[in-house]
């Protein structure tokens, strides 16, 4: 039997799959269910300092090659969210708390509260509007990535994983910036800037017009991002984007990821997707002669 346990900066996982932020993780009941369905860990919805309704509907569109969304960071706020983390913890879930804010202080403040709820690590969702940079996102400013990471590192004693955006010229340099800021690991990638128009209605599909693309369409983009990042940093990387099978997960693992996150694939496959990925990963690794998933990490760089 292939050993499928993995570890990211001291966070031990029973298997390398995690629930990606933004999927079935606004409530503790759902997170518990996902963990029970087989995920190695669950990442919470990105939580900010205050409740936020997000954008009006339509917020989510299924396209032929992926999913387009602009939910606009809806979340109940960090205070109310305590209830949800506690509920998920009761089920024994390994929880990574995703946080966001408008500036470094807000990130640090939310992360501190999140940490106090007993999560195992903090993920920084940097894909939100930059208070200083007009129109850009925090994720699109290398200095902000470094500084925000540093601010959160200084505030909490948990591992901190900035989550990077692919909407930049060279994602690896952002990973380096995060590493400089003290990051314990990197999560890549968030959704890709995109848009869909409905010709019959002569208008964009999303109420917000623009959105982010996820699902199979972005897997090759994510694999490349992880590969590039792993050539530049020495901290562990978690791969995310379009993963729906064991083969998909192994693309990321062999590109250098030590764990993967799964979101959009829940639509076609349901929560069984975690188990399916883990089983397929196990048998592919076995066939390829690996004794553990950790041996396979980064082998495509050879």
């Amino acid at each position: 039997m292939v050993d499928l346990r993995t570890e990211i900066a001291g966070v031990r996982l029973r298997n390398p799959t995690m629930l990606a932020s933004g999927f079935l993780d606004e409530t503790g009941g759902s997170m518990a269910r996902v963990y029970e369905a087989g995920a190695g860990a669950v990442v919470t919805k990105s939580i900010g300092p205050k409740p936020r309704e997000g954008y009006p509907n339509p917020t989510i569109v299924e396209l032929d090659a992926g999913l387009l969304n602009a939910v606009g960071l809806p979340n109940p706020g960090i205070v109310e969210y305590e209830h949800e983390v506690k509920r998920a913890k009761k089920a024994g879930a390994v929880i990574i708390g995703s946080v966001f804010g408008k500036d470094a202080d807000e990130y640090a403040g939310v992360a501190t509260k999140m940490a106090s709820y007993g999560v195992q690590a903090i993920e920084l969702n940097l894909s939100c509007p930059h208070a200083k940079g007009l129109g850009t996102e925090i994720a699109e400013d290398e200095a902000a990535v470094r500084d925000f990471t540093r601010a959160v590192k200084d505030a909490v004693s948990l591992p901190v994983f900035p989550k990077l955006s692919p909407n930049v010229q060279d994602i690896a340099s952002f990973a380096v910036a995060a590493e400089e800021g003290g990051a314990d690991g990197i999560v890549a990638i968030n959704t890709v800037k995109a848009m869909a128009i409905v010709p019959e209605l002569k208008m964009p599909f999303l109420a917000n017009k623009f959105g982010g693309l996820s699902g199979p369409a972005i897997r090759p983009i994510g694999v490349r991002a992880v590969y590039d990042i792993c050539e530049k940093v020495h901290i562990p990387v978690v791969g995310v984007g379009g993963i729906g099978s064991g083969r998909d997960a192994l693309e990321y693992i062999m590109a250098g990821a030590c764990a993967v996150q799964v979101g959009t694939a829940i639509i076609p496959k349901g929560l069984a997707v975690f188990d399916e990925i883990v089983k397929e990963m196990g048998s592919l690794l076995e066939e390829a002669g690996f004794a553990s998933v950790s041996e396979a990490i980064g082998v495509a760089h050879a």
Binding site: F23, T27, G29, R33, G54, N57, E62, P74, A207
Partner: protein, 258 residues
């Protein structure tokens, strides 16, 4: 994968002063109790039960708030987006079935009422509304079986709430299945009296929805998703839920009193 379609509205039918039915062509199937995500361009995308199955589908919309209010000003020929059908369906079981509907809840149940009648079941419907003019689908339910009416203001039929009327009906006649859809407290009352009498209940629950396809977690009810695991739950399931009848989630995901 359920498909997204843009369809022109063929016909608008005013059902009550606050409720309108919209008919449109759609060859995407659908079973009694399932719903569509209906995009009202420039306003919102909302879950709506399929009130007419068949080639010319229908949805029946109560004028609740901004989007549904704007929708009421649409005309035939205007286009809307629909995707689905989503969710589970009513199990069409039982030879003597009681349907208890409140307000626009009748829109979710009427196709099941007709389908049960079609397959030979006796269907008795208890319809409730605030006032006589707001009673929905009384004629359709009447063609499918027997109808009893309750109005809050007593303007027609039984003066009071539908569950109280329904409880009288179950005392008069033995039913082997109860369907219900309407305000959560109404459904809770139905579940309660049915439990005492050991009659199985299927209740169609409403929650705020965003995706309709089981990923956003907006519609969660304890650890179940109303869009995917529901909208129809059995009394046994509802009994397990801490939130049913007590809490719902607002648009931010906060738990608020139901």
């Amino acid at each position: 994968m359920p498909k997204f379609e843009v369809v022109p509205i063929l016909e608008l039918v005013r059902e009550t002063p606050t409720t309108m039915t919209y008919r449109f062509r759609g060859d995407f199937g659908g079973q009694p109790g399932q719903f569509l995500m209906v995009w009202i361009p420039r306003y919102d995308e909302l879950p709506m039960a399929i009130s007419y199955l068949g080639a010319v589908k229908g949805i029946t919309v109560h004028d609740y708030g901004d989007a549904t209010h704007a929708f009421a000003t649409f005309s035939a020929g205007d286009r809307i987006g629909v995707r689905g059908p989503y969710g589970n369906a009513f199990r069409l079981e039982g030879e003597k079935v009681l349907a208890v509907g409140g307000g626009s809840g009748m829109a979710s149940m009427i196709a099941a009422i007709e389908a049960l009648a079609q397959q030979g079941a006796r269907v008795v419907t208890a319809v409730g509304a605030k006032t006589a003019a707001e009673l929905l689908f009384v004629e359709r339910a009447n063609s499918a079986g027997e109808v009893h009416i309750a109005t809050d203001d007593g303007s027609r039929g039984f003066a009071g709430f539908a569950p109280a009327l329904a409880e009288k009906l179950v005392d008069r006649e033995k039913f082997d299945q109860i369907l219900t859809c309407g305000p959560e407290r109404m459904m809770k009352a139905v579940v309660d009296f049915a439990k005492k009498r050991d009659i199985p209940v299927q209740a169609s629950v409403e929650r705020y929805m965003k995706c309709g396809i089981g990923i956003c977690d907006a519609c969660s009810l304890d650890d179940q998703l109303v869009c995917l695991d529901g909208p129809i739950f059995t009394a046994e399931q509802l009994a397990q839920f801490e939130e049913f009848g007590n809490f719902r989630r607002d648009k931010s995901g906060r738990r608020v009193p139901a």
